[in-house]
């Protein structure tokens, strides 16, 4: 556990906020796709920690989290002022594998998925494509940051308020066509239904080295409580087992994700 002093905390866009904690120890160890488990200060009668992907880390010890205000905890977090301190556990979880130089990364993200994959994009030696989907324009975040990192950003929204109107996975065929011959490697992070659809596509097309960040309601964050499980393929009679996303994930191989019922 590390005490993380808040250095900045402000609106990023609409309901999305960005907070920076000063925690050099965590920053040093962070790999893309990992998360921190945060005990939000001043939470009244709520005792559990909240998990947030590490969106960025800086050399001078600032760890950035991008979060959407959805409930009690994030509401209180959004009210915290610089100087206030939260307790952070991390970096936790299995990271994404940073692509090799000859690999062309295609990141498929939804919701806060862009925050969870930014560090991956930044550290990728070859810059690729970000396919970012959301319900509507308000939920498309960090596109500028990805563009600045050299990624080709394409967006989709369910309501058509920005970019392609439809599901983000529908943008994949064109990317494949444009980048024929390249060693494409897929990464995904977003809502579970989107990731299951993506896993199916990748499994069908044989992109077995693809990596997906799956998560679920968390409690301990370290593998002890079995709250956070998702179905992962297994050779038992059922064909699947529940794997802990906090410890065995959140990043899983696309080929391991169980896409059946």
């Amino acid at each position: 556990m590390k005490k993380g002093e808040i250095v900045t905390n402000s609106i990023l866009k609409d309901e999305y906020y960005q907070v920076q904690f000063y925690v050099p120890e965590i920053c040093r160890e962070t790999r893309p796709g990992q998360f921190v488990h945060v005990k939000i200060a001043n939470l009244r009668d709520r005792i559990l920690r909240r998990p947030f992907s590490i969106s960025d880390v800086s050399e001078d010890g600032l760890l950035t989290v991008v979060y959407k205000v959805v409930g009690e905890g994030t509401k209180v977090l959004a009210e915290l002022k610089p100087g206030e301190v939260c307790d952070l556990m991390g970096p936790l979880g299995n990271p994404f594998s940073v692509p090799a130089e000859d690999e062309f990364p295609v990141i498929v993200a939804g919701g806060y998925g862009s925050a969870a994959t930014y560090l991956l994009a930044e550290r990728a030696p070859t810059k690729g494509v970000l396919l970012l989907g959301a319900r509507s324009q308000n939920d498309l975040i960090l596109t500028d940051k990805f563009a600045a990192a050299g990624f080709d950003v394409r967006t989709s929204t369910n309501d058509g308020s920005e970019g392609y109107k439809g599901f983000v996975t529908e943008l994949i065929p064109q990317v494949l066509e444009e980048n024929q011959g390249k060693k494409i490697r897929f990464y995904g992070c977003g809502p579970t239904p989107m990731l299951l659809a993506l896993a199916k596509i990748l499994q069908d097309k044989g992109y077995n080295d693809g990596e997906l960040s799956l998560d679920h309601l968390m409690c301990c964050g370290v593998g002890a409580c079995f709250a956070c499980v998702v179905k992962i393929k297994d050779d038992n009679p059922d064909g699947w087992r529940y794997a802990r996303t906090c410890k065995e994930g959140p990043v899983f191989k696309a080929s391991d994700v169980y896409v059946g019922e």
Binding site: I47, C219, G223, C225
Partner: protein, 306 residues
């Protein structure tokens, strides 16, 4: 520093603070946080004969001063527990006092898992019989809320093992002391309580239960007053060591349980807030003892003044 050693009859532990089953995994998950032998005891998550998927998700929901869970006893099964390197073989290397929580869907399953552990009992200080998990459809809480079944489970297990037995009692009953008396009569060397209180929460937006299993077990500070009351009642009713738990977050919370008659305590939900919680609780007990001029923790056990 006061003497924190606690004599539990069949064995002693170096301090009165254990981890509550199901909240500390198999110990392995916390090995990088501190040496497990600093704990009074490590109580592992429930072990059954067979591997088990557990319940569908969502399995947890946060509520005022606590949480609901219906993990449904996901676990590796006893074979893997005895042989898999991150389970018992790992635990044997830690030097910690190890208590294995067990459960079954039938009396036969309870007896079989106990017999398997008896056969390889090296490093196992005690078995904690979970007759009180409210989150498995078959067995589990049925045993914990039926006096005859509770007695039967414990006496069947008693026949196949000489390992000290702790029976973990359900709070979802009218008179918990009756259950304590019954399982002690059946051969339990100790009792532990409370397991979780059955509760429910509904997401008003989706109108669905927040726990896929419909109901879940309530734990955390919200249950502490009920837990302290039940520990007091049980400590009056039986002459075996009582292990108290339910909402302990601090050393002073633990002192309440000790004063009520618990010989040791377990820390559960607090571990999710702070993995170091059990150690901090032990330190807090020590500070209390020093502050009150007590040389040993035994001086305050059952020390409530009426």
């Amino acid at each position: 520093m006061a003497d924190l050693t606690v004599d539990l009859g069949k064995f002693s532990i170096k301090n009165p603070v254990m981890t509550a089953s199901g909240t500390f995994g198999y110990g392995f998950e916390y090995k990088d946080y501190y040496d497990l032998d600093k704990l009074g005891a490590v109580v592992v998550k429930g072990i059954a004969m067979k591997p088990s998927h557990g319940n569908p998700t969502p399995r947890v929901a946060e509520v005022s001063s606590g949480m609901l869970n219906a993990i449904g006893l996901q676990g590796p099964g006893v074979d893997k527990f005895l042989n898999g390197k991150e389970y018992m073989p790992f635990l044997r290397t830690t030097g910690a006092t190890i208590i294995v929580n067990i459960w079954g869907k039938t009396i036969d399953e309870y007896r079989e898992v106990a017999a398997r552990l008896e056969a390889e009992k090296d490093g196992i200080a005690a078995l904690e019989i979970n007759i009180s998990c409210p989150n498995v459809k078959e067995g589990g809480v049925a045993f914990g809320t039926d006096l005859k079944l509770a007695h039967k489970v414990v006496s069947e297990i008693r026949k196949v093992t000489s390992i000290p037995l702790i029976t973990k009692l359900s709070p979802n009953v009218t008179c918990i002391s009756d259950f304590a008396r019954s399982v002690v009569d059946a051969g339990s060397d100790m009792v532990s309580l409370i397991n979780t209180l059955t509760g429910m929460a509904i997401d008003v937006e989706t109108r669905r239960p927040k726990i896929a299993n419909l109901t879940g077990g309530l734990s955390g500070p919200a249950v502490k007053p009920v837990a302290v009351r039940m520990v007091y009642e049980v400590a009056q009713a039986v002459n075996v060591p009582v292990i108290g738990m339910g909402g302990i977050m601090t050393g002073l919370d633990a002192v309440e349980f000790l004063l009520a008659g618990a010989s040791a305590v377990a820390v559960g939900t607090a571990i999710f807030v702070d993995p170091h919680a059990p150690l901090k609780v032990a330190e807090g007990i020590d500070e209390y003892l020093e502050h009150h001029g007590c040389k040993s923790v035994s001086e305050i056990i059952g020390g409530m003044i009426r």
